[in-house]
């Protein structure tokens, strides 16, 4: 029997290039569920990837899709949304593209409150290129470019996007499929800049070398055991939250989007004529 979401992939794209047990496959799957549960028209949906593991996903989808430039997903999205605000634009990318090379685009798009949904697979490293340190790698972690331990601190991406002006912000892990699908649905429905961080397992690089967990199942278990919901965290001491993954919705507010403001300006111009 064929998986029900295979019909959402372009004919003949399989096998995909994700490693067995990679979170990118799960997130792609959850994204498809979310779009179909919302009943969206795939003709009006644009999926934008870049370069990297997660960023490859749009190349498989039977959708309007962009692939192939590292970190520039949000500028593409800006041009698309200003040209045709009716399109639903979803960005799938990794922590390198989001937090490093595309970091400025991330905060600027959040500041503009561009009406797009960004789904980030945060696997704590540059997995495709061999597991180098990323802006999301924890301090002290040993990677192929920090063999004596990471000297830097990671971002809290959700806080970064909140400070920049994102209007729907949420974090889950790949071990929370139901919550994550709901969050993606919320993000797509939300009018404004939606940002969903997914802490995802990488059994090939981060899991294997940083956590010492080679198999996908123990990686997923680790994610689940180390996650704390926003509600649970309310009753916990700061030291108990150290090293935990805080999951849940952090921000949900309605503010005019860049597209709204543009349409409003055009309306004012028409009236003045």
């Amino acid at each position: 029997m064929e998986h029900p979401n295979i019909r959402r992939l372009k004919h003949g794209v399989l096998p995909h290039m994700f490693c067995p047990g990679c979170a990118a496959g799960q997130i792609t799957n959850y994204f498809i569920y979310a779009v179909d549960q919302l009943g969206l028209d795939w003709d009006k949906l644009v999926a934008i990837g870049g370069v990297g593991c997660m960023s490859r996903a749009p190349a498989y989808l039977n959708a309007n899709a962009i692939h192939g430039i590292h970190g520039r997903n949000l500028p593409f999205a800006t041009g698309i949304k200003l040209t045709n605000p009716e399109l639903t634009v979803v960005i799938l990318m990794g922590d390198g593209g989001t937090a490093a090379i595309g970091g400025n685009h991330l905060i600027q798009a959040a500041r503009r409150n561009l009406d797009v949904t960004v789904i980030v697979n945060n696997n704590g490293s540059y997995a495709m290129t061999g597991g180098q340190v990323s802006p999301m790698t924890p301090s002290g972690a040993t990677t192929t470019t920090t063999t004596r331990g990471n000297l830097e601190r990671p971002f809290d991406l959700c806080k970064l996007v909140e400070a920049a002006g994102g209007t729907y912000i949420s974090r889950w892990t790949s071990a929370h499929p139901v919550q994550l699908i709901n969050s993606i649905k919320k993000g797509i429905r939300h009018r404004g800049f939606s940002f969903i961080e997914v802490v995802g397992q990488c059994p090939t690089q981060y899991g294997r070398y940083v956590l010492g967990l080679r198999d996908p199942v123990s990686n997923l278990r680790w994610l689940k055991e180390n996650s704390v919901t926003v509600k649970q965290a309310e009753g916990m001491a700061p030291e108990d939250l150290e090293g935990k993954i805080l999951v849940g919705d952090f921000v949900e507010k309605e503010l005019p989007t860049l597209e709204d403001r543009y349409l409003e300006m055009e309306r004012r111009m028409r009236e003045a004529r």
């Binding site: 899709a65 692939h67 430039i69 500028p75 800006t78 041009g79 040209t83 055009e266």
Partner: protein, 376 residues
């Protein structure tokens, strides 16, 4: 802008670019401020909303180039403008536009490295700096009128060939005011990309007919095309088959090369019986023309070939000039770049002389005249 009559305007070079873009049907502009190109963004940010277009000032030049590619994929004629230092940042996006065959127009106002002075610094960068195989269409205006006209032409070429097209403006032209004539709508011959007409399930998005240019869908119209930098087959699917990759770039380059004679804008002045030719582009063509006129008054058989399109390079054209004349002089505002191409295409049939000037100004006609006389 001083309105001289309904059609004639006394206008800044950068503003002429913006007006040319509007006349060509540009509906999207993304840019980042930089001297001496900023007035293009200023003007077009005001003008676009008047014609149902949209403008955004991006966070950097990378943002600008990808925003216009996104807009073009969503169906808009789109442009950005920058100066040399910002143009450097755009090369990766130009390569993406080549690979995905996305029509875009880039205006690069050339300026001296690290200074706001006149130069022809980027004539080779505009042609070559995107990684990988490509043909580039690069227009080099020599006046404010040509800034306007060539910007219109740039959109037509981008749409027709599904390729990036670069308007190589110059510091001097961009901040100069000249009288120009605006084209009336009925004189304009505008071209828009050909749209697919087959049902979505039948579209092979990168399959081209004889002209080598596939019809182009837009996001939202039901065709669901994947655009990728990676080697891709006719369906747009990423492939590891390097024979497919080879064929792809043969088509992408041939679609432009086959039309070189049609694409290249050029003007000849006193070339019929010339024994010495000046081959010039951009603002240098202005002093070159005056130098040729003065040489003729002295009885010297000099002529000018003014290239409005510097890339693709018209080998046969230069070769035919080299066959006719004894000497070709190439004045440029750099240490001598384009002259190398002229020399290559001349194939030792004429003596090709470089006349470089890298001091932030154009040659005077005196200087070019001395070179024609052989005094330089």
């Amino acid at each position: 802008m001083i309105c001289l009559s309904e059609d004639f305007q006394f206008i800044l070079g950068n503003h002429a670019v913006a007006e040319g873009a509007i006349a060509a049907g540009c509906k999207f502009f993304a840019g980042y401020p930089i001297t001496p190109a900023s007035e293009i963004a200023e003007r077009i940010s005001q003008r676009l909303p008047e014609v149902s277009g949209r403008f955004v000032q991006m966070e950097d030049e990378l943002g600008s180039i990808y925003a216009i590619i996104g807009a073009s994929l969503a169906g808009a004629k789109a442009m950005t403008a920058t100066a040399s230092a910002g143009f450097n940042y755009m090369q990766e996006g130009i390569g993406y536009s080549v690979a995905t065959e996305t029509p875009i127009v880039i205006v690069d106002v050339m300026r001296l490295r690290g200074a706001e002075q006149a130069t022809h610094a980027d004539v080779m960068q505009a042609r070559w700096s995107a990684s990988g195989d490509h043909e580039m269409i690069v227009l080099a205006p020599s006046s404010v009128q040509e800034l306007y006209d060539y910007t219109i032409e740039a959109f037509n070429l981008a749409e027709r060939y599904r390729n990036p097209v670069i308007v190589l403006s110059e510091m001097t032209l961009s901040l100069m005011r000249e009288k120009i004539r605006f084209r009336r709508p009925e004189e304009l011959r505008l071209f828009s990309r050909v749209r697919p007409t087959v049902p979505p399930e039948e579209l092979v998005p990168f399959e081209a007919g004889e002209d080598g240019v596939p019809p182009m869908a837009k996001f939202g119209d039901g065709y669901r095309v994947l655009y990728t930098l990676n080697p891709h087959d006719r369906r747009g699917m990423i492939t590891g088959d390097l024979d497919v990759y080879d064929d792809l770039y043969k088509r992408i380059t041939a679609k432009i090369r086959k039309d070189v004679d049609e694409i290249v804008i050029r003007q000849e002045f006193e070339m019929e019986d010339a024994e010495i030719a000046v081959v010039a582009y951009g603002s240098e063509a202005r002093s070159a023309r005056e130098a040729v006129r003065r040489a003729r008054m002295e009885g010297v058989r000099a002529g000018l070939l003014k290239l409005g399109t510097i890339w693709p390079f018209h080998d046969e054209l230069i070769r035919s000039v080299a066959e006719q004349v004894e000497k070709i002089i190439v004045p440029e505002m750099n240490l001598g770049k384009y002259v190398g191409e002229v020399r290559r295409a001349s194939d030792c049939l004429a003596d090709v002389v470089s006349l470089p000037l890298n001091k932030g100004r154009i040659h005077t006609s005196d200087e070019i005249l001395r070179a024609i006389r052989g005094e330089a």
